[in-house]
């Protein structure tokens, strides 16, 4: 067993920042990540980091924009922390050497971004995330912070009190990918989850193959509620075969969308008579899918994004990168043919419920980054707001876990914050764990031993979890059964079909049924590669289980919320219902039978109170 003060799970932007913060605070910190840090998906971010740095701009304006963008589902204390701290975090990055793009006077450049009232998005070319990730990893190297790379965290070592708010997290258990050993990590002060996105719940996503929602799934099963899971952002222009993102810049420069009939459908069918192709992400995504669903899609799958008319010179000058992407990942030359595009999952607003210090309701367990939901994005994330979230809340979580006093948190966490419980969701099948089975339980992810928190020492808690996970892997490898890939495929297809941009009650129910089937099939899953060396079959199989849990919470939330807010669109409910729905959806595992409840949205900030208004740009 390894022992450290603070264990950070995940080494993307959020994890690295948390580790550095904990280290600054004097803690002995270690990063545990299934990928080497520089392979994390933060590296894929292109656009930029929002920070109110300049005269004429103010962090309160940034906060206002963010709240408006969230469609009034963000929590004001969190949003204010984000916007107030972002400038100093950005300057910190600059001091760490991040190669930002520069103005003539040598200062960091900023550009305008959708939904912002001031050009406050700092950037480093079209590869901001890459530079952010590498810059922070460099600082980790400089500080000599211990990194356990290629260690797959399978479960958290959490005690077993009946009430999750009394539980304690003492560490985690990881699978050493190099040699198949299962090792315990004991954390004296805290565990920070920073496992990133979960786009792999969908079959078409801009997310990495490694973005499988392990963090939310593990925390969820440990009793931590997941918040606002129904809010998933879809990007309208991604390449069909890989999901690689084609930046909004193409439409910004005048790119045109056509359907299979060659019609400019944004106008032709009246999706957005004014803005046309430049309407907001959700509108364009929905328009594209409508075209495809009504039979006007190319190969029943995608539409065309055409930039040929912009002329070679202009394209080469401003959109060169796009030409490379289309060529490398789709085999299409954007100068001679239109590029195929379709909407793809892009970002998950929901996640592990935390307060503005990154704490969950389980003591010693923290979360930060895309896997968490501090609720700054509410129902819709503004471009350029995820990266500041990583550094701001990553740092908060790191400091707090290492013992810095950050004062009283204003956001409440845990089931005790519930204002109302959902009793009749009308789910067609019972969600959650399957009934008692034999030792397959171990293979399925293990259950908390019901000792009611009796275990004497934290070390024993970790040991016990190690043992459970060892059995789980043995069982998966020892038996014959199905390949997880099939189940994953089925799950992803169902999510994309029914829980995508368009959500109808019937479809969501259908999805829940399929998810249930996937759960059942998963009971018979097996790993066919017997090797102890670099066994990715084991890892992918476990990830699939996590995806099932995450997909279910997304669908449950989507079914519960019968309104149209931000990224969440419901066929039967076409308006935002502030009277009824100004609240967060929470799903809590409750030892296998998910419970849905709601908590208040906090619109009351330290600076000002935010009044919900119609969101129009």
């Amino acid at each position: 067993m390894y022992e450290h003060d603070v264990i950070v799970v995940g080494a993307g932007g959020a994890g690295l920042r948390a580790a550095i913060a904990a280290h600054e605070e004097g803690a002995d910190v270690a990063l545990v990540s299934k990928l080497h840090p520089v392979r994390s998906h933060t590296g894929a971010a292109e656009g930029g980091i929002n920070a109110a740095l300049r005269d004429g701009d103010d962090w309160t304006d940034h906060a206002y924009d963010t709240m408006k963008g969230s469609d009034y589902l963000g929590d004001a204390p969190a949003i204010e922390t984000l916007c107030e701290t972002s400038p100093e975090e950005v300057i910190q990055l600059e001091h760490w050497g991040m190669p930002f793009s520069r103005e003539d006077d040598g200062r960091v450049s900023q550009r305008p971004f959708g939904g912002l009232s001031f050009p406050r998005t700092t950037y480093a070319g079209a590869e901001t995330g890459h530079h952010l990730l590498h810059t922070m990893y460099e600082q980790v190297v400089k500080r000599g912070i211990k990194v356990y790379d290629e260690f797959y965290v399978m479960d958290l070592a959490v005690t077993d009190e009946a009430d999750p708010e009394n539980r304690e997290c003492h560490g985690c258990v990881a699978y050493d990918i190099k040699n198949g050993e299962i090792v315990g990590f004991r954390a004296n002060n805290g565990v920070v989850l920073a496992t990133g996105g979960d786009g792999q719940a969908f079959d078409h996503t801009t997310n990495a193959v490694a973005n499988t929602g392990d963090g939310p799934a593990m925390a969820y099963r440990a009793g931590v509620p997941v918040e606002d899971m129904e809010f998933v952002q879809f990007h309208p222009t991604t390449l069909p075969s890989t999901g690689v993102l084609i930046s909004e810049g193409v439409r910004g420069e005048g790119g045109i969308l056509y359907n299979a009939e060659g019609e400019r459908f944004m106008f032709e069918y009246g999706y957005a008579n004014n803005a046309g192709e430049l309407a907001s992400r959700d509108v364009v995504s929905r328009a594209e899918l409508t075209e495809v669903n009504e039979g006007r899609g190319v190969e029943d799958e995608y539409v065309y994004l055409d930039m040929r008319h912009l002329g070679e010179e202009r394209v080469l000058d401003r959109l060169e990168n796009i030409l490379h992407l289309a060529e490398d990942f789709e085999g299409v030359d954007g100068l001679v043919e239109p590029m195929p595009v379709k909407p793809g999952q892009h970002y998950h607003m929901g996640g592990i419920e935390v307060n503005e210090h990154g704490e969950t309701c389980v003591s010693g367990l923290y979360a930060a980054g895309e896997c968490a939901c501090v609720s700054v994005h509410g129902s819709n994330r503004l471009g350029g707001n995820a990266l500041p979230e990583l550094i701001v809340f990553g740092a908060q979580a790191g400091y707090h876990a290492a013992g810095r006093d950050l004062g009283e948190a204003l956001v409440e966490t845990g089931p005790s914050a519930a204002i109302e419980h959902e009793d009749d969701l009308g789910a067609p099948v019972e969600p959650g764990a399957l009934g008692p089975t034999d030792d397959d339980v171990a293979a399925d992810g293990g259950e908390r031993a019901a000792d009611g928190g009796q275990l004497a020492t934290p070390a024993e808690t970790v040991e016990r979890t190690v043992e459970q996970q060892r059995q789980r892997v043995e069982r998966l490898k020892g038996r014959d059964g199905r390949n997880h890939a099939e189940i994953r495929d089925k799950l992803q297809k169902a999510m994309t079909r029914w829980v995508n941009v368009f959500r109808e009650e019937e479809g969501l129910k259908k999805a829940l049924e399929i998810i249930r089937e996937c759960r059942e099939e998963y009971q018979h899953v097996a790993v066919s590669d017997p090797s102890d060396t670099y066994n990715t079959d084991v890892i992918h199989t476990i990830e699939t289980r996590n995806l099932i849990d995450v997909a279910e919470t997304i669908t449950l939330g989507a079914l519960a919320r019968d309104e149209f807010r931000g990224a969440h669109w419901r066929a039967e409910h076409q308006e935002r219902k502030d009277d009824e729905w100004l609240k967060h959806t929470m799903v809590q595992w409750s030892d296998g039978s998910p419970e849905l409840y709601y908590t208040d949205v906090i619109l009351e900030g330290a600076e000002k109170a935010y009044e919900p208004k119609v969101r129009s740009y």
Binding site: H36, E88, W96, P99, V141, V209, F329, A433, E447, S528
Partner: protein, 299 residues
Amino acid sequence: MSTQVTEQEQTEDPAEDQSEHQQRRLAEKAERREARDRMRERAETDLEKADTVFDLKVFRYDPDIPEKEKPRFDTFPVPFTKGMTVLDALMYARDHYDSSLTFRHSCRQAVCGSDALFVNGTQHLGCKTQIVDLGDEDDARVPGTVRVEPLPHQEVVKDLVVDMEHFYDQMNAVEPFFDPDDLPAPDEEQRQARENREKIKMSTRCIWCGACMSSCNIAAGDNEYLGPAAINKAYRFAMDEREGEGKKQERLEIIEQEHGVWRCQTQFSCTEVCPKDIPLTEHIQELKREAVKNNLKFW
């Protein structure tokens, strides 16, 4: 739940347990067979439907498994679809034929640097390499066979996975972090001229894929040679004017050590294979000149 399970098990007498166990094993076996058949069927229908099929010839090796202890090649027929990359083909083979086929991958968009592979005899990122680009221009766009091997000159862990530790060590040897002589106040940015950022821009693009190192004959022969990626990393900082003269001096000393820049024989293969188009040789050469200039000062 788990307590219930143990209760259940306790009530069963051993004989019954035995047969039940066996039954379950059999059921599992049948299921497995079924699953395998289904997988094969899926692949077969795909193959029938496809206009073009090519052979993916993949290097296999696993020190843990007796049958795979001896390196070999496996060939998987893969149905070609438009836009298919080498990584897509590998994933197809893994998900349809053999789930033990092992390779690193994550982002699928050439930013994570996980999947540098040896494809048809050159270093490529799997995700960034279109199958049609491997074809013979005049003949068929889709090649008959695509041969995929792990990066040469690195220890193979399993199948296409190589040990990257050595590469990471070399990267770490050049003090790969920003370390300025002095910093402005905490709320003030350092200034950097645009030209200076332009100068280091290409060098900051490295994604640590290791393709360059694997292609360099010198690095292959001299294990301690820092290698193009690490030298490029040193360049990135040495040329960054924000760091200051003192640190630059230190950096030049690092790259001048025994296994540093002077080892480079300008073979250019690193520059040719770099998926991020970093002019590595140029950067190495510039550092050599910089070092000579710097030393001439003291003559």
